[in-house]
Every structure is written in C-alpha cells, then in structure tokens.
C-alpha cells in the first residue's frame, strides 16, 4: 500500500507544487491507456513490464490488542484540541473514540468510573531512539547511527529496531502510545525514521504505525561536521554541511526527473528503460514527492533559517526542527513557513549549539498563530515523563507573563506531535472517529506526583498500573530475578513427575513470583 501523502494542507501555501502523483498511480494510468489503444504512441513498440518501486516492502502487521467497548466516566478530560472538559465521559468503541462529553449513554459498553482521574490522548514522542539505542546500552545493540558516510539516506531505522528494548515498557507506563524512532545525528542525512505503536511485539512490523509516513532524519550543526571533519571528509564546517545537503538534493532532483520521465514515457506507450534504482535517492525522492517528512536535528536560529530556504530551493518542505533550542529566536519564521519545532523544556549546555536555552522556548514558539510547538524526549528516561516535561514549560512560562493552561500544554505532547509526524488525522486528540489512544492519569498530569494508571491503544488496554496482567515485560528482563533455590513444594512436584525430564518439571513448578518484585511500582 502506498504511503499516504503528506498532509500538505497543514504546511503553508508558500509551497505551490501540488503533489498528487505517485508511482503506482502511473501504473494504473498506463494500464488503462494501453487498453484504450494508446493513440499518442509509437504503434508497434512492445512494452516491457512496468518497473514500479515498492514503497512499502516491510509493511505493518500491527493488530490492535483485544478490546471491549468501554465508557470512562466522570473524569477531567483534556481533548488535545485545546479543550478541557470537567466531569466528563469518553466512550471507546471498536478501537475508536465514539463520543466525548457529559452523561454519555453506555449502551453495551463497560462503564468504569474515573472520578478524580484525568484523561488525555495517548502521549506521542516525535524523537526517540528506543530499540535502536536500547537498554542495556551495549556495543552489540548500538544500531542508531550509521556513521560511515555523511549521507546515509539509504538506511532505515526500522531495520535496527530491537522490539525487546525494556524502555518500550517503561515509556508505555508513562503513557506513550506512539513514537517515532529516528536514526542518530552523526550524518547530514541519517536515514529514515519509523513511527511505531507502543505495543509489545516480537517484530518491528508488529509495532509499525500503518498509516504513518516515513521520516527522513537530517542533521545540522556540530555533529556531522565533527564526525566527518575529524576524518578529513566533507563536511568539516557548517558551510560544508549545507554544500552536502545541496549536492544530495541536486542528485535527488535528477533522479526524480528520470523516474518522472520514465513514468510519462511508459504512460505514453513507449518502452523506456527504467532508471537504475538507488536506495539513497529513493528516500530523497520520497521527500521531493511529499511522501516522506523531514525531521531535522537543528538547534540554532540561523541554521533553521537556512534549512527553510534549502527546502524552498529544492521544492520540499523543511518539516520539523528537532532539539530546536533557539526556536524562540525565530518563532515567527517557523510559523510562517509551517515548521514544527520539537523541543526540550530545559536541557542545555552539553554543546555550544545548546547554550542559549530558555525555559519558555516552547511557550514562545507556541504563542505565534499557526505554530506547531512540540515537546520531545530524545531520551529513554524523559520519554517516561513527557507530561512533566510539558509541565515545566507551562509553569515556568506562566511565571513570566504567559497564561497557559493544561488544555494548551497537553497539545505539545499529543496533537502537535501527531501533526509533526503526519498522523494527526489518526491520533493525537480525543475527537470522534480517531483511534482510541487514551491515558488515564491518577491526578492532574502536570503534577510531579501524577502516574499513568491505565493506557489504551486502539481502545485496548495495554497498561494498568495496578494489574500485573497488563504490565508487559520484555524478553530481556524475563527470568532475571528468579530464585535459584527450589522451594519444597517445587521439589515435591519434581519428584512426582518422574516421567518428565526433571529440569523442565522444576522450571514449570517454580512459578512463584520473584522474591523481590522490584520492577513493580510501589503505590503511594
């Protein structure tokens, strides 16, 4: 299935190139024209089979977990659309949000009283390396940065994802339902990112968000020039960075033109030779075609401004700026060009390009009309508390003249994040018809004491803080805390089952919980 094209309507009207084509549409067109007799073409030319690029060779096999219809009642609901509903209900049916409002009728749905609780959309992290830089942080698992060339657009982060990374479980316990896994920032073009549903799965495909477009990781600034400059390879300077991007986009433009010509010639009944496939250029062409979204590691104001112009030069949208420490300096420009800025609330100082942090960065970006301010983690630790990350911005900004409320701040980690990933039609807000990704919080999620108590993805419960049955555990951590001593009951069972091999019998019998269930949360 071809990727849904970019929701370009969101990005602003500066961008005039209308994207309606994709290669498979040409195939259909060609077939129908052939059947009509192809009046415009050479009459006797026999056409070879059309060469079509398979844009989805590793398709999603995600299936929602078993779910029943439920009605969550009497909660404080932040919808993600800027609205707050007090003492309200939400009805989840067939994996979708069916209704949000007061005193809803349950029908056949199971009613769960959520008095005192807060409900938000599932949290979305636009910048994560879970699975590609997993825990334990051993060299064998360090799969996030293909640091062998400044342009590795041909690599796809999904091919590095280790689904058993225990951090997926930890993030789920923090309410994260969707996350984009990106390659690292060593290269000018780091490769494709993939958006995942945060469900336990043995395969990456089992987590893949089917409707989400791919992302392309680009990187500005210090990292690429440091990595390659030290090898005496371009880039060793920021101007080298930009030269590297431009050369790549020039090549991609040629490549796109070659494929367009092939498609139109074929459609015209000719028998053209297909251009030679190039994995690197496939990805860049996907960007030019509007099918792949740019996710650009770019801290500094002047560099973001150059990246915006670069996009205009080559006729693609410059997408989302990640780690945009200095976004507050160009908030107007970002909004005018339709860029999202994904930011930390307060990380700073680890590099020169992270020196000009202000705690109100997100709020300043958000204050501009048509802006898209996102709070991201880039961390397996803070991904577990994106609610608190957003809270820090809200409260610090309110100390300095802003008047932000919970219903505003929640957008930074839900609706705006969905917009950045091109999945805002599907998730990010509690709107009728959207996927029922829901978090139930113990209290106001912007409190340090808030805990995600229940997490739903597509209406199915994937986490429950008080029910071990809904607390998944990765293969890696399974069996790490078992007792070595066989207790007396187990010994008896082992003796009884004399026909069974002793080992397996003992293993089966020792099913009592580990002596110190330390990974279980202690409730206050």
């Amino acid at each position: 299935m071809p990727k849904k094209s970019l929701p370009r309507s969101f990005f602003n009207g500066k961008f005039t190139k209308k994207i309606t084509d994709n290669k498979s549409m040409f195939t259909l067109l060609a077939t129908s024209m052939l059947s009509l007799g192809l009046t415009a073409c050479l009459p006797n030319e026999k056409q070879d089979a059309k060469v079509v690029i398979n844009k989805n060779p590793y398709p999603s096999t995600y299936q929602a977990l078993p779910a029943q219809s439920i009605l969550l009642t009497n909660a404080t609901i932040l919808t993600g659309t800027g609205e707050r509903l007090n003492d309200a209900d939400i009805l989840l049916v067939n994996g979708k949000v069916m209704q949000v409002g007061k005193d809803l009728l349950a029908g056949k749905a199971k009613v769960i009283d959520m008095t005192g609780k807060w409900i938000t959309p599932g949290i979305i992290d636009v910048h994560s390396h879970l699975g590609v830089y997993p825990n334990p942080q051993v060299e064998s698992h360090s799969d996030g940065n293909e640091m062998t060339s400044p342009n590795t657009s041909e690599v796809w982060a999904e091919h590095s994802v280790w689904p058993q990374d225990p951090a997926f479980e930890a993030a789920r316990a923090g309410g994260v339902t969707t996350l984009q896994i990106l390659p690292g920032s060593a290269n000018l073009f780091g490769g494709r990112g993939v958006t995942l549903r945060n469900v336990p799965s043995v395969t990456m495909q089992g987590m893949k968000f089917a409707e989400a477009p791919y992302g392309l990781k680009m990187a500005c600034g210090e990292n690429p020039k440091r990595v390659y400059g030290s090898r005496k390879v371009l880039p060793s300077t920021r101007m080298g960075n930009v030269a590297g991007y431009r050369s790549a986009w020039l090549a991609a433009t040629e490549y796109q033109r070659a494929w367009d010509k092939y498609d139109s010639d074929y459609s015209a009944g000719k028998n053209p030779k297909a251009p030679k496939r190039d994995l690197e250029l496939d990805t860049l062409m996907g960007v030019l075609d509007g099918e792949i979204l740019i996710h650009n590691h770019c801290y500094k104001a002047e560099e973001m401004a150059v990246m915006i112009d670069l996009g205009n030069e080559f006729n693609y949208h410059s997408g989302t700026f990640h780690h945009a420490i200095e976004a507050y300096k160009i908030a107007d420009l970002l909004a005018a060009n339709g860029n999202c800025a994904a930011m930390w609330p307060d990380w700073w100082g680890f590099k020169m390009e992270a020196f000009d942090m202000v705690e109100e960065n997100v709020a300043i970006v958000d204050a501009v009309k048509n802006s898209c301010a996102v709070v991201h983690s880039d961390s397996s630790t803070t991904i577990q508390r994106l609610n608190q990350e957003a809270a820090k911005v809200m409260y610090r900004a309110n100390e300095h003249g802003f008047a932000l409320k919970e219903e505003d701040a929640i957008k930074w980690i839900t609706a705006n994040a969905a917009k950045s990933l091109g999945i805002d039609d599907e998730v990010g807000s509690l709107v009728v018809g959207k996927k029922a990704d829901v978090v139930v919080w113990s209290t106001n999620p912007f409190s340090v004491y808030a805990q995600a108590e229940q997490v739903f993805i597509d209406g199915a419960k994937v986490y429950d803080r008080f029910d071990d049955k809904y607390q998944a555990k990765s293969d890696f951590l399974l069996g790490q805390t078992l007792d070595s001593y066989v207790d007396s009951d187990a010994s008896k069972a082992a003796n009884k089952a004399s026909t069974e091999p002793v080992n397996s019998s003992v293993n089966n019998s020792v099913n009592k919980p580990a002596s110190k269930p330390v990974t279980k949360p202690v409730t206050k």
Partner: protein
C-alpha cells in the same frame, strides 16, 4: 518588576565579576516569620514558625508559640505560611568544572594523569553560568565529584556553596572516589583487588610508621635518614585519611557482588563507605542497612542500562529506605540541569518514598555524610535557606527567596536575560535589548 529583574540579572550575570567586591558583605539580621518550616531535624515541621539568621548562621528557630514580642531584626520577611526548607545539596556532578560539555577547553573535571590526590577544587569556577541556573532549583550547596583519571582511585570530591563568590569552596579533597564495576577492558576483579591491596599496603605502612615513631621517641631520633624515609607520600596520606575514617570513600558500584565486596572491605578496614550509583542495591538492601552504609543514587534511572543494573526501578529509593538504608538522591544528569533534583525527589515520593525522607535525601543526609554545617534548620547551622511558593517538589512551585550564609541570592540567570530579550516589544534588532 520586569525591569528590576533585568537589572538584577545583568548585575549578577553579565557583570558577575563585579560581585567580587560584595563577597565580604556582612549578612544582616533577618527574621523570616509565619513560615511552614521543614527543619529536617527533631522538630519536624513547624507551622507559623520564625527563623532568625544573623552573621550567616541560623540563630533562632521559634515555633508558633515561642516567638518573642520583639525580633530586633534588620529585615522581617513575612512568609505568609509558605514553606521554608534548608537549601538543597546536590551531589555527583561537575558544577563549576564545565561550562559547555562538548567544548573540551571548558572541562576541568577529568585528567589522564589524575590519581587519588587529584584536587579539582583548584579548577572550580564560581562564575560559571550554570550556578545561577542551579539556584533556581533551590540548591545552595553541592558536592562536586570530578571524573578524575582512569585508575581505580579517580580523585577526590569537594563541596561548594552556590553563592557565585570566589570563596565558594567550603571544603576541598573531602572524600576519595573509586570507580568499580563493569569495565570494557579487563576484569572488574582487578579493580577490587587494587582497592583491597592498596588499603592493605597503606595499613601496613601506617603500622610500620607508627612503630617507627614509637621507636624514634625512645631513641630520640638519632638517624636522620630514617626519619626522612618515613615521611608518607601524598598518596599515602590520603590512604591514611581513609583508614582513619577522616575521609569517606565514595565508591561507584552497581552490581550486588561489587556492593557486597565493598561492604566486606569496609568492615575489614573500618572505612566510612558511601555507595554511589548502586543500581542493584535492592538485592542486598538488608546487608547495606546492617553495615550502616549510605547509598547515593538516582531516583529516576529505572532502566537496565547494563548487566550490572538489571534491578533498577523508580521504587528503588523507597525500597532501600524502607529497608533502613540512608539514601542520598543524586542528580540524574550531569551538571547543567541539577536544578531538577527536586523533581527527581518528587518522582521518588510518587513511587513510595515518604516526603520527609525525600527531603532529607537532598539535605540532611548529604550534610551528615560529609560533615557539612548545613542541611537542617537548626540553631548554629549555616543560614542556607529556601522559601518556596508551595510544595518544593511540585513542578508548579518556584523558589521565592534564597539565602546562602544569610545573604539573599539572586534568582535570575542568563536564561532570563535571553527570554526578556526575545519577548521584548521592540522595533530595533534584539541585540539592542539588554
């Protein structure tokens, strides 16, 4: 108000060097009245209490009914019921030893040549831009733990206050740092052996030296050469300080086997041991409690980052505390965001730690471990105090006022100057907004 803030921030940040002239300012007598005082001492929480500070020290703590009619203070601050706590004490970071992480010229926390005599306090920069920002988190003093060298003994820690003055270093070379546990090259066993052997050698040479001393007393120091040969080296002096318990041993270790090995070493040499990191400490919590060893750990590092850390959890601080272990909550990151310490403590509370224990874990427990005259609101302690707008652990709360050694501190930082510049209403380039 905004103008005042700007002026203050300029004075403290852009022209910070001028503050040198203010370092000798004699603190006035201040009374903070009507406060909810978290003493972190026997008195517990006092409502509507009054704290008097003078000469840089806490000179009186009055509960509601004991407040005298006249306080005789230069300044009286009505806390209006707000919470007053001891200033928080951060630990395990490079504050003042790094300005920009990736700019190596601004890093003074490690050196290949560093050994157990490494004294990074000589490199401490009280004018670092990290310090005013750290104060926003209610942090008034800090245990700096340099990374030091590549040996088992990496160097020594030191303690600073966050006044930003040139006399910030409270105590240097106050504890010896060793790094144990998993290693990319070689075996962890060698590290434990090195620690053990060096302690044994030091103990022997100390015994020898004492014997010689006694002998010398008898013979009235006939042999000059022998006398000189017995002068302990700098490294030996540090080892002797460890053996006498004069200096604590800060030992990085995560796996339970390393922790148990350290407990044995502690017992054998009667060391003042403090465990650092201690990801898997929950597996041996009873042993740690029995040995009365304090644990310095993060409250939010809950992932199995290595095979030494398979039992991490957000509940670990609470679990250890319930087992009777004294815990110090350390900063989770490095140095630039140590102001978040209070949120980490809040997460520990949300995961089962008692609020009073969480507060002690970032105040009194640190002071006790390193013999600091702070961390509690008690008469005679340094007047390092923080007045909070509300619950100190909550994200919505901010520091309303702070005193270090009785001096009221600025709560603005370079970040405020940047925000004001870029939110100011101006038609001119923003470089003119200062």
């Amino acid at each position: 108000m905004k103008n005042i803030q700007l002026i203050t921030s300029l004075r403290y940040v852009l022209f910070g060097a001028l503050a040198l002239t203010t370092s000798a300012v004699q603190a006035e007598k201040i009374a903070i009245t009507n406060a909810t005082v978290y003493t972190v001492a026997e008195q517990g929480v006092l409502l509507q209490a009054t704290v008097v500070i003078e000469g840089g020290k806490i000179t009186a703590v009055y509960s509601k009914d004991d407040v005298p009619d006249s306080l005789n203070a230069d300044t009286i601050i009505d806390a209006k019921g707000r919470i007053l706590t001891p200033g928080f004490i951060a630990t395990k970071n490079l504050l003042g030893l790094v300005e920009v992480g990736a700019v190596s010229a601004t890093r003074d926390g490690s050196d290949k040549k560093a050994d157990l005599t490494f004294d990074a306090s000589l490199a401490f920069n009280p004018k670092s831009s990290l310090i005013p920002y750290a104060r926003k988190g209610g942090i008034t003093s800090n245990l700096v733990m340099p990374h030091g060298g590549e040996k088992v003994f990496t160097g020594q820690s030191f303690v600073v206050n966050l006044s930003g003055e040139f006399d910030s270093v409270i105590v240097s070379q106050n504890a010896v740092i060793v790094s144990l546990g998993s290693t990319r090259k070689g075996s962890r066993a060698v590290k434990l052996q090195t620690l053990s052997n060096e302690l044994e050698d030091a103990q022997k040479s100390l015994a020898k030296a004492e014997k010689a001393k006694a002998k010398k007393k008898k013979s009235q120091g006939k042999d000059k050469e022998e006398k000189e040969a017995k002068t302990p080296s700098r490294a030996e002096q540090v080892m002797y300080a460890l053996l006498s318990g004069e200096k604590p041993l800060l030992a990085y270790a995560d796996r339970a086997t390393d922790i148990l090995a350290l407990l044995k070493i502690k017992q054998k040499y009667n060391l003042d041991l403090i465990l650092v990191g201690a990801s898997d400490a929950v597996l041996v919590s009873e042993e740690i409690a029995k040995a009365k060893v304090t644990v310095m750990m993060s409250a939010i590092d809950n992932l199995p980052t290595s095979f030494d850390s398979l039992h991490t959890s957000l509940a670990n601080v609470a679990i250890l505390s319930k087992a009777g272990v004294t815990v110090i909550i350390t900063n989770s990151g490095e140095s630039h965001n140590i102001n978040q310490l209070r949120f980490d403590a809040g997460v520990a509370i949300a995961n089962g730690l008692a609020e009073t224990t969480a507060l002690a874990a970032i105040t009194a427990n640190v002071a006790d471990s390193f013999n600091l005259n702070s961390g509690r609101i008690v008469v005679g302690k340094n007047a390092d105090l923080v007045l909070w707008s509300s619950d100190p652990f909550e994200i919505s709360t901010k520091v309303d006022a702070m005193w270090i050694n009785g001096n009221a501190m600025s709560l603005t930082s370079r970040q405020d100057a940047l925000r004001q510049r870029y939110t100011a209403d101006t038609n001119m380039p923003r470089a003119y907004t200062k």
